[in-house]
């Protein structure tokens, strides 16, 4: 394997998605297009709805029409793919696009009189672009270089969500698909209930992780080395400057936008591990995260827009692997549409359950010991789906 990679780099492999990763810049950039068309072409509020309509209508349709991509780079090509700087430059380029888009949209709101449905459109569009910022911060925050880690913090600071960098890597990846994880949704839990657990849970897990690390370092939790505080300070300065320029009335709007950005992450977290559970080993530790502990989608378009985030099993198996090298595997828990279509479904909990519960039961072989239940709904769901506890004759009996 090693010598093949050394001999001819990509071992004859051609990445057909190489150029298409530029969609990962264009889709998030749509939030900037609305206000520009409004100012330069015609003051029509419809422009401002462009990126939101694209996200909720056009992307799920494109996923349905373009379908799935099951191709993988061969393992021999991965070292060369990982080393190719082009893919990294695409992620770097998105950082200024998101910053410019955020500032232009906030200024646009501050300087224009809009009807309520115009303001709403800008809040949804800008919040949506912060969701792409969270996805970018996610991709870069997993990498080992100092530059990428700082770019992650700078990007996440736009939506006051810098703590994600700490909480996700050292918290979510450790606790994923267990009842301990506030970022793994439980069977029977609606997204509206999940958000109350997910958002505060994420913040406090990040804070606790940093407090423990800084204590080991012999530093105060309020030290500037605190990686929750570092991006929070960037957020504070940015928001203060925008308030000084546009007035205090802009603050509630910015907070709504930041919330809607964070909610994009809540949605992704909600669908990524819904109901899946790692078993506890006799040692009291959970089994290591396996590919069947994540939901996946191979839909072409939404993967281009999200840096392959939807190839989620491989991401959890190899968290530092770069987006261009993430692979699909057969027989993984599979979503019927890309993330954007699934978000829509999640807004209607009865519909979500009707689509996802049968898939979940199939993915876990109807074994309740492999289901992460919402405790209050456990009995009810067991009855509804005719599940029974496997006989408890020692550990591993259910395996």
């Amino acid at each position: 394997m090693q010598h093949l990679a050394a001999d001819n780099g990509l071992a004859g492999y051609v990445d057909r998605k190489r150029r298409l990763w530029l969609f990962s810049l264009m889709v998030p950039g749509l939030a900037l297009v609305g206000p520009l068309l409004y100012m330069l072409v015609s003051p029509n509020v419809l422009w401002l709805w462009l990126s939101t309509i694209f996200g909720y209508v056009v992307i799920p349709m494109l996923d349905g029409v373009l379908g799935e991509d099951l191709s993988n780079p061969p393992e021999e090509a991965v070292p060369a793919l990982e080393a190719d700087p082009y893919y990294r430059y695409v992620t770097y380029a998105l950082v200024p696009i998101l910053w410019v888009s955020f500032i232009v949209n906030i200024a646009f709101l501050g300087l224009h009189e809009l009807p309520w449905y115009g303001t709403l459109a800008v809040i949804l569009a800008t919040g949506g672009s912060l969701g792409f910022g969270l996805n970018l911060g996610h991709e870069m925050g997993h990498k080992k270089t100092g530059l990428e880690r700082w770019l992650a913090k700078i990007t996440l600071a736009l939506g006051c969500y810098g703590h994600f960098f700490v909480e996700h890597n050292r918290g979510h990846h450790r606790d994923v698909a267990t009842p301990e994880d506030p970022a793994s949704a439980r069977m029977g839990e609606s997204i509206y209930r999940f958000v109350f657990r997910e958002m505060p849970g994420a913040f406090f897990r990040a804070w606790d992780l940093e407090a423990q690390r800084l204590e080991r370092c012999g530093k105060s939790v309020w030290s500037l080395d605190n990686e929750v505080l570092q991006p929070a300070l960037i957020s504070a300065v940015l928001y203060a400057l925008l308030i000084a320029w546009l007035g205090i009335e802009i603050l509630p709007v910015m907070l709504l936008i930041a919330f809607w950005g964070a909610f994009q992450l809540t949605q992704a977290n909600y669908i990524e591990h819904y109901g899946l559970l790692r078993r506890k080993e006799p040692s009291g530790r959970y089994e290591r995260c396996q590919p069947h502990h994540s939901w996946n989608s191979n839909h072409l378009f939404s993967n281009w827009a999200l840096f392959h985030l939807q190839r989620h099993s491989d991401h959890h198996a190899h968290p530092t692997r770069r987006y261009q090298s993430l692979r699909d595997f057969p027989d993984l828990p599979r979503l019927p549409n890309g993330y954007f279509g699934m978000y829509l479904l999640a807004y209607f909990p009865p519909l979500w359950q009707r689509v996802m519960d049968p898939r979940l039961l199939e993915a876990v072989g109807h074994d309740p010991q492999r289901i992460n239940f919402l405790p209050a709904k456990r009995e009810q769901l067991m009855r509804r789906y005719g599940l029974s506890e496997a006989p408890l004759d020692g550990a591993g009996a259910a395996a």
Binding site: H173, R213, R216
Partner: protein, 55 residues
């Protein structure tokens, strides 16, 4: 002084250098790291998963 490597992501813990960012100063022996130690880079491999590297 030995180096230990994460089998998943290649992170190396060098006893001589420690990992000051994680709060383990230079010279911290592998054995004195807590049992709850997880790989600082990928977080999906535990202490017992690490391999000692031959010098």
């Amino acid at each position: 002084m030995t180096r230990y490597q994460c089998p998943e992501c290649g992170y190396e813990y060098d006893e001589a250098a420690g990992d000051p960012h994680q709060g383990y100063p230079a010279g911290t022996a592998w054995d004195s790291l807590p049992e709850t130690f997880t790989c600082p880079d990928c977080a999906v491999r535990y202490k017992e998963d690490f391999r000692a590297l031959e010098e």
